[in-house]
Structures are given as structure tokens and as C-alpha cells.
């Protein structure tokens, strides 16, 4: 597994070099993995990489690109929008010559339609935002400030909002909120992987049995 980069299209033209983690031996099966979003992305990062290691042992190539504005990206998150993220993932798929794509949780909202897709425990954007907004209300209350959901939503779509440290622009919030995962891809539910989802954990955690199970499901499906 090595660091790699790929040219990510910028909205005004041109490209920005973005980071990806890559297991590339030029094999026939090449899986692009769209990471989980925001706080869940941190919770699931190690699990995602553990799945990639297992796919490598099963002789399946995989690549995990950054979403622009996230992880190692030098671009500001606040200027991103969902259409740009989808373009970025489509470009990454092309650059790495992906044959299939896997969306992790909210990453399932950004799987390019041009590739056969798997969605691991997909989630609606509204559910992700509901939880982030609730965390903001709770932490404000701890600091002695009362905020309510309606006012925060209004602020979010007019001026943008910071949720769990993520600076989300108004265009992003407005376009993201109604997004739901496509119905067409193969859904891999947490019940098939076993145990409880690692995105639920208060602290990032790992689980070898779950990584084994998800990698085995993907391997079986890719070789079918």
C-alpha cells in the first residue's frame, strides 16, 4: 500500500493534485473506495484500510482517494459542493482505471454511476447532518449557549455552518441535505458483516473479524 496522487478537477478549470492510498499491482479487479464522510470518516478510516489490506491478499487492487477538502487535501472544505465531489470521484475512477466502486456509509452518495457499485451500510445525507447538528447543539449547551435546529439550518443554507469542526458552505449544505443513496448498487448491510458498525463508536476502533467479512463479501462478488 503506497501513497499516490491524482489530478482532481477544479470548478473553475484546472486541476489540483489530491492524495490517495493505493494498492495497485495492475490487476484485473480494481476497486475505488469512497471514504465515509466527516466524523464517520475518522471512525472508519482504519477499518477501510484493513479491508484494503485483505483485498490485497485476495489479489484485488484498491484505491482510497481523498474527497477534496478532506483528509490530506489542501483545498478548503468550505468551497466544496456535492457536484464537485461526484466529479472528483469520477475523475479518480478514471485515473486509477477502477473497474468497481465501493461507498463506505455516506461515501455511497458519491459513487460514480458509470461503474458497478457496492454500498456498505449506506446512509442518507439528512441522517448524517441530523447527527452533526445535534452534536453542535449539545456542545453549545455545554458551553452555555442555547441553539436550535431550525435556526442552525437557516444559518447553514444562508451563510454556511461549522459542524464537528467541519466548515460546510451554504451551497454544500443545500445540495447535500436531500441526497439519498442510489437504489441500484449492491447493498452490503452491517448484518452481513456482523457485530455493530464501527461508525457508532465513541472512539475510533478496529475489528479484524468485520474487516475479514467485508473483504470476503467483496471478493466473492467481484469474482462471481
Amino acid at each position: 500500500m503506497v501513497p499516490a496522487s491524482w489530478p482532481c478537477p477544479l470548478p473553475g478549470g484546472g486541476t489540483s493534485e489530491e492524495f490517495a492510498l493505493s494498492c495497485d499491482a495492475g490487476r484485473d479487479h480494481r476497486l475505488l473506495i469512497i471514504p465515509a464522510l466527516f466524523d464517520e470518516g475518522n471512525k472508519l478510516r482504519r477499518f477501510t484500510v484493513e479491508v484494503m489490506r485483505r483485498l490485497e491478499l485476495a489479489r484485488i487492487d484498491s484505491v482510497l482517494p481523498d474527497l477534496p477538502g478532506c483528509n490530506e487535501s489542501m483545498l478548503p472544505l468550505v468551497i466544496q459542493n456535492p457536484a464537485g465531489w461526484l466529479d472528483a470521484m469520477t475523475s479518480a475512477a478514471r485515473h486509477f482505471r477502477a473497474t468497481h466502486v465501493l461507498g463506505m456509509r455516506g461515501g455511497s452518495l458519491f459513487t460514480p454511476k458509470s461503474l458497478p457499485a457496492f454500498h456498505y451500510a449506506p446512509v442518507k445525507a439528512a441522517t448524517i447532518l441530523r447527527q452533526l447538528v445535534r452534536a453542535r447543539i449539545l456542545s453549545s449547551r455545554e458551553a452555555g449557549r442555547e441553539e436550535n435546529r431550525e435556526a442552525l439550518a437557516e444559518t447553514a443554507v444562508t451563510r454556511g455552518i461549522t459542524l464537528a469542526g467541519y466548515e460546510i458552505g451554504p451551497d454544500f449544505y443545500r445540495d447535500f441535505e436531500p441526497m439519498v443513496p442510489d437504489a441500484l448498487p449492491t447493498i452490503i448491510g452491517q448484518d452481513e458483516v456482523g457485530g455493530s458498525g464501527l461508525w457508532l463508536r465513541a472512539e475510533p476502533d478496529e475489528n479484524g473479524a468485520q474487516a475479514d467479512a467485508l473483504a470476503a463479501l467483496l471478493t466473492g462478488a467481484l469474482r462471481a
Binding site: 447527527q131 452534536a135 456542545s139 449547551r141 463508536r201
Partner: protein
């Protein structure tokens, strides 16, 4: 005998806190939660409440969330039982 809500709540706390199987069985009414467990910060509490909603089929309004209900296991159980009975 613990009732169904009690069992479900212990199960959900096990999942959120990453407890070992059986560890949540030792929780009693006075076991401290929010403010006592460093890993249970506001993001984790938001996750916990969302999971409670999903698995117990209840809706928790933001203004219902008070320090008291989150402070101890007994407080949270009483809140959830009242919600389910409502």
C-alpha cells in the same frame, strides 16, 4: 429481571462505547455516563441518541436532552422507558 428496554439500552451502550460483552451488565442506576466517561463527548452522545431513536423507534427532541438524563445509567433508562411508554 431486566426488561426489554433495559437490555436494548445496555446493548446500545456496548456498541457505542465499544465495551466487552457482559461489561454493561454491571451498570446500575448510579453508574455515571456523560461527564464521567471521557469518550462520551458531544459527538458520541449525538451518535448514541440517534442510535436510540433508530433501535427503540422513538424520536428525541433536542430540547428534551438534559444533563440529568445523560448523567447516569438510571437517568437514561428512565428517560427511554418514559419515551417508549408515551
Amino acid at each position: 429481571m431486566p426488561d426489554q428496554t433495559d437490555l436494548l439500552l445496555r446493548r446500545i451502550l456496548t456498541d457505542v462505547l465499544g465495551l466487552k460483552p457482559g461489561q454493561a451488565d454491571t451498570f446500575d442506576d448510579d453508574t455515571g455516563l456523560f461527564g464521567h466517561l471521557p469518550e462520551l463527548d458531544s459527538m458520541a452522545v449525538a451518535g448514541l441518541l440517534t442510535e436510540l431513536e433508530d433501535r427503540l423507534d422513538i424520536i428525541i427532541e433536542d430540547d428534551e436532552i438534559e444533563g440529568e438524563m445523560l448523567e447516569t445509567y438510571g437517568g437514561l433508562l428512565a428517560f427511554v422507558e418514559a419515551k417508549r411508554g408515551a
